[in-house]
């Protein structure tokens, strides 16, 4: 599943961690993200908020998809598209620390 520069097939084994300068706060189902270095404040939807929680430096991306599929009643293809889109956007904005696998 490719979206922008992100191909989920390449990231399955990777572990992501929220960057040190990132603060995020759940607000209902959504979340607000403060990217200090970029000076940006972002709003992410429910799936985006869950992705931020899963980017804990321990859970590989392939497990994110399993968790999300179990939690949301969404077709797997649509979910993968959502995750790829969020990863693309959040990686570009420096929300995640450098990827390690």
């Amino acid at each position: 599943m490719r979206h922008g520069e992100v191909d989920l097939r390449d990231l399955q084994e990777h572990v992501l961690l929220r960057a040190k300068d990132i603060r995020f706060r759940r607000v209902g189902a959504e979340a607000v993200v403060l990217a200090q270095d970029a000076g940006e404040v972002l709003v992410v939807n429910e799936v985006g908020a869950r992705i931020l929680e899963l980017a804990d430096g321990e859970t590989p991306v392939k497990d994110w998809l399993r968790v999300l599929e179990a939690e949301y009643d969404v077709p797997a293809a649509a979910l993968q598209e959502d995750v790829a889109r969020y990863l693309d956007e959040l990686l570009e904005k420096g929300v995640f620390s450098p990827i390690r696998s």
């Binding site: 603060r23 706060r25 607000v27 607000v32 403060l34």
Partner: protein, 200 residues
């Protein structure tokens, strides 16, 4: 230079300026005080917000936005319509309790506060409205997350301080328990007050 411990119990500020700085010195002092005020309010369950404050009835409306959003325009239009203006650049809100209060601060932008606006001490918060220039007047409620993002983005100085961001989010969350944030699209006349009035 600003110094303060993390518990916020004591803050110290020092200003050095060239003796030939003349009037620039006043600007330096004012900017210094703006920063101090933002940090101080954070320790008092408050926020210093990039906003234009306008009094309608006995309550204050805060129109939120960064430079160029239309804060001064809205203040001018409101003043022309007979309303008092607090500041067209920065206003303080204290979130403590179920009734958030607006505290005028002496930091104006291009527009001087009206005499009554300058004399007021504390007012109930009527509404928090993010500004958007447009071709019509329209008011809509923002989601809680958009409200939090707006208030955070409009909290200068402290929103760039990694040691204050958690507290900032706490204060914003506390304020949002008792006040929603709307978005006001407006054009260059004071007809937007009719939309705001319908929301009251």
């Amino acid at each position: 230079m600003l110094q303060w411990p993390n518990d916020g119990a004591k803050m110290e500020g020092k200003v050095w300026s060239c003796t030939e700085a003349g009037e620039e010195f006043l600007g330096v002092v004012e900017n210094h005080l703006r920063v101090l005020t933002a940090y101080h309010l954070l320790t008092r369950d408050g926020l210093l917000l990039h906003s234009s404050g306008v009094v309608e009835g006995e309550a204050a409306y805060l129109f939120l936005g960064r430079s160029g959003a239309g804060k001064t325009t809205v203040a001018r239009l409101s003043q022309a319509g007979g309303r008092d203006v607090l500041s067209d650049d920065m206003n303080a809100v204290v979130a403590a309790g179920a009734k958030p209060r607006v505290l005028p601060v002496p930091f104006a932008g291009e527009l001087e506060p009206t005499p009554r606006g300058r004399a007021l001490e504390k007012l109930p918060l009527a509404a928090l409205l993010r500004l958007r220039k447009g071709r019509r007047h329209h008011l809509q409620t923002l989601s809680p997350s958009e409200g939090m993002a707006t208030l955070t983005a409009c909290s200068p100085f402290v929103n760039r301080d990694p040691h204050r961001q958690e507290r900032l989010l706490d204060n914003v969350g506390q304020l949002l328990e008792h006040a929603a944030v709307g978005e006001l699209e407006f054009r260059q006349d004071d007809g937007f007050w009719e939309w705001i009035g319908e929301d009251r």
